[in-house]
Assembly symmetry: C2
Homo-oligomer: 145 residues x 2
């Protein structure tokens, strides 16, 4: 049972991610395909799952750098097992929970603001430190840091 490699085109088709994006991910250290004698990328079938993880994590608002940090925890020598993936997925569940909590808190505060109509920097809870929404995700610099 050989490794079963796939080319970049097939990985793109299987994941729905553009070829250019796959190369970009490699640049960023998220993927590490082997090369053939003719310098063409050869991916392991497990890389499909890796790309899947990238997509999910992005949907949760993680930047590629953070995602890379998560992926770096996968074993280097052997293929990641089911339980490796589960560990990492559970970490993400924590991230979602946190995000939901922050949004819920913000909603409550907004409700208060709607009540008093304030939207005032002096009084409004929405501006107080403790609620820095972790919504930044990918994208430009911080706003309320």
């Amino acid at each position: 049972m050989q490794p079963q490699f796939i080319g970049i085109g097939e990985l793109a088709r299987r994941t729905g991610v553009a070829v250019s994006a796959l190369r970009f991910y490699e640049d960023k250290g998220l993927l590490n395909p082997l090369r053939t004698g003719g310098n063409q990328r050869k991916y392991l079938r497990g890389d499909i799952r890796r790309v899947s993880f990238i997509l999910i994590a992005q949907k949760l608002g993680l930047g590629l750098a953070e995602i890379e940090a998560h992926l770096a925890e996968l074993p280097l020598g052997r293929n990641p097992t089911l339980s490796d993936w589960q560990k990492i997925s559970r970490a993400m569940r924590g991230a979602i929970d946190e995000k939901i909590n922050l949004l819920t808190r913000t909603r409550n505060q907004l409700d208060q603001c709607i009540g008093c109509g304030c939207l005032s920097l002096a009084k409004c809870q929405l501006y107080n430190k403790d609620d820095k929404l972790g919504l930044k995700g990918p994208g430009p610099r911080a706003v309320l840091d």
Copy 2:
């Protein structure tokens, strides 16, 4: 009781937003200060609230263009009243609710994935169309469109 104008520096101090950012918002049509004879910007005190709104809406993941659309609903002639602001805030509450719902759905799906360890494009619900997380907010192009 005159209008009580403030300069860009004071608006920056009062809102915590950089002077350069305030000028940038003006470029984008989010602010419309008057000018003195010497061409310096003069803001109405109500603009503090306007900037506050921008900050909150950004935290909720809205892009400047969307925010501008909301702000455009404020009355042009008169100063916005408390109820103007309430109307607009309530719209935002809807946006938060939606975001929380999407995250909650995603969490449930992730739970299933953790259960089966799949993370597989073929089987995983996380890839199905209906869950496109509206998390994009400000930032680069879409991922799973």
